[in-house]
Subunit: 459 residues, 2 copies
């Protein structure tokens, strides 16, 4: 029984030594029992030359599987050095249509055409051309053409015979789809149901018409939500007139869900590309610089805001003590508010409250939190400052009041921005990004110093 | 064909009116064709009284399915008002063992025992007691006992007969597991393979021994990674001596993956509970206050740090201008670094580089980013300040130097903290949380003012 496999340093070292010694036998022995996903993972640890040596030792179908499992970047590098004929005959021909289309989508237009011409299986070439026409993030882009479909007028015996034929092309039989003479989707028939029925029964009589389906243009996010909510392992895809054109399997959707979650996480932590610690220094630098540049611009703007109030700072330097607190709080509260809304939009759990009611609630939450924090900072100021100092009361009141106002302001801002972005069909996760955070920081600073100026005039 | 369903305000209003009028017929008509997951979603929009009315109208199996789909909070409320006998006979008896165990886990110990006594199906009661003994986040806690297993010594005909019997208890047949006489897992046999083979062939001859399995104590995170990586829809679970005890299906793992991603996202955005905009004000407040309190404490510490350098600020108030910039940059860089490491740990894609090499790389990334930003801020200072002012050069140099140092420091700190937490078996996502961010802020502030004091002394 094959246990899951974890790559360790000893394994890699052994592999490297064998490759360096041109020892094909040892390399093959090391690769034995490894799943395509494991071999693809190995590639991250090897140089392009080492990886190529290894790749050429793989047998037909396994090589195709490994290619499908590779990271997009690694795959592109590989495809560049392989001739179109090899790509077509040794890989594309042996892949499922959806994986093949994913690989082909990475090719240049020119190479794509060359590869298409070299695919021996005309059906496969046709399927790929079909699949490439859909948006990558739509149901059409996620689906595979391979599926098992039976006609509603067949009996179970004929059905089982036909399924045996079709099954040769399909990795996993999750559902058997039932179509009419026009190939329109009528429902599913479960293997369980077939096992429990008479051989002469007609499919029509045991079809389960209660089947969910999506159109080719349904967005990937919606596909993920439907499959997750209704616990589906496969979802049929139909065209504009209900004809069955493909099916989406859960494994592709799991990847999609994970990638979407990672994207939102990266957005919230200020990284602009999908990077890993093992990536090159320049890739890591590039992924992180954009947010830092926005942060820098925000910092300069902040300096200008404070500069505007320089005379007040000269008169009362202690006003500067609480600048980081106010700026940080504005940013924090804004991220919290946005994150809750962004997550709810992503999982379609926004509920039915009106925007007005949402904002009113957000106001209440911010007011309670703000009040608690304002009271705490007011009290703690008695400990860290000397109450007998001149202008002590003005400072303490300034910090407390502006903290409350900044928290309320940032909360409302953080709630409404993702809602507006979503209305405008822009990814609401942007609202947890650096731009909005920086704006909240600066707004907080501005409010603090303005309130300070007013209160120092009064008290 | 049932399309997916989206709850809208009109639907809810119609439902409310019907419930208010005690109009069972209309309510039943509205619920017709709805999936259990949709009905569970409806409950969020209804009051407990309205939901109870609706619940009592549901037929046996559907009522059990809806109960399984409900949010934990809603379910607890419901279970509290239902007698143990009803819970046992009308719900638990009709559920899959894993859903049943999940529901039972929410009950008080006392009620749990009562319900167990009322379960008519002794096998089901035994399965539930077994499942409840495992940690919720382990393979044992995620698995269901329902599966189809055949003996390796049977032939295909006997196998198909036995499967028909077993299939009645299993919702979806993904794999047929093969066991020996001791119930030890030997492999799987695919339906496809059976459809393509002779009826008299022995299972032994067509068994696929290349099957992944996990032990009952395998952590849920690892289960998710294995199923995702190897594209599995179901994964068998064995006990300490390889006996087959259950199977985990992909739908439970999708939920797990989503919940884990949401948890990390919440951590990065400073929310301590899984909240939705539709939650009560007090719940939302409670979820957000902890981070804000840490932020407040950090702000007070920051004020103390600045206070320590008050004489320098009095001498040169312009030093205050760049406080928000430095503090924000320290925090930002720290989050970026931690987030990359946290994500890599979560997806087991850390690579094999030694910690020393990782830190060296992080240093390089931080140095490049820091240098770019330091040069930019140096240049921009010539525009926003007046170069002829006294101490202009000292200020500009302070900002640039400390920015570079703070970025490098925060990057290394942000990288090493999640690695240490992970070594200590603490959730590394904590490193993107408020505590570390606040520490980075303060450290940045401290470095800035210290460098300022030194440079103002020199220039």
């Amino acid at each position: 029984m094959a246990a899951q496999f974890e790559i360790n340093k000893e394994f890699i070292d052994g592999m490297r030594t064998a490759i360096l010694a041109d020892d094909e036998l040892t390399v093959k022995k090391l690769l034995e029992d490894l799943h395509a996903a494991d071999i693809a993972e190995l590639y991250n640890e090897l140089s392009l030359e080492e990886a190529k040596f290894l790749f050429l030792l793989l047998e037909g179908e396994l090589a195709a599987d490994v290619l499908a499992e590779l990271d997009e970047d690694d795959r592109e590098k590989f495809l560049k050095v392989l001739p179109s004929e090899v790509i077509a005959r040794q890989f594309i021909d042996k892949m499922d249509s959806d994986d093949a289309a994913d690989v082909m989508a990475d090719l240049s237009d020119e190479k794509l055409e060359e590869v298409l011409l070299h695919i021996d299986d005309v059906d496969q070439a046709g399927d790929i051309v079909d699949l490439l026409s859909y948006d990558e993030n739509s149901a059409g882009g996620l689906m595979a053409k391979e599926l098992i479909a039976v006609n509603e007028n067949w009996n179970i015996l004929k059905c089982l015979r036909e399924m045996s034929k079709q099954a040769a092309n399909v990795d996993e039989v999750y559902y058997v789809y039932v179509v009419d003479d026009d190939n329109k989707l009528k429902g599913t028939v479960s293997l369980k149901r077939m096992l429990l029925s008479q051989n002469t029964a007609k499919i029509k009589d045991i079809v389960n018409t209660d089947v969910m389906s999506v159109r080719t243009d349904t967005p990937g996010e919606e596909v993920a939500i439907i499959m997750d909510k209704y616990d589906l392992v496969a979802l049929p895809v139909t065209d504009g007139i209900d004809r069955l054109v493909g099916r989406i399997t859960i494994d592709d959707v799991v990847d999609f869900i994970r990638e979407e979650a990672e994207k939102d996480y990266q957005m919230a932590s200020g990284i602009t590309e999908d990077v890993q610690p093992s990536d090159k220094v320049m890739v890591l630098t590039r992924a992180r610089l954009p947010w830092l540049l926005i942060g820098l611009a925000g910092g300069i703007l902040g300096a200008l805001v404070i500069g505007h109030y320089e005379p007040d700072l000269v008169n009362y330097p202690k006003l500067a003590f609480f600048i980081p607190l106010i700026a940080a709080m504005g940013g924090n509260v804004g991220i919290q508010s946005s994150a809750i809304v962004v997550q709810a939009i992503a999982s379609k759990s926004m509920g039915l409250e009106s925007t007005g009611k949402k904002l009113l609630k957000e106001f209440a939450v911010a007011f309670i939190n703000g009040l608690i924090l304002a009271v705490l900072i007011f009290a703690s100021n008695y400990f860290i400052s000397d109450p007998r100092e001149s202008k002590f009361f003005a400072l303490t009141l300034t910090v407390s009041c502006s903290l409350l106002i900044v928290i309320i302001f940032a909360a409302l801002f953080g709630t409404i921005i993702p809602l507006i972005l979503n209305k405008l069909k822009i990814d609401p996760a942007l609202a947890t990004g650096p731009f909005i955070t920086t704006m909240n920081d600066i707004m907080g600073l501005f409010l603090y110093l303005m309130i300070g100026k007013i209160l120092f005039g009064i008290f």
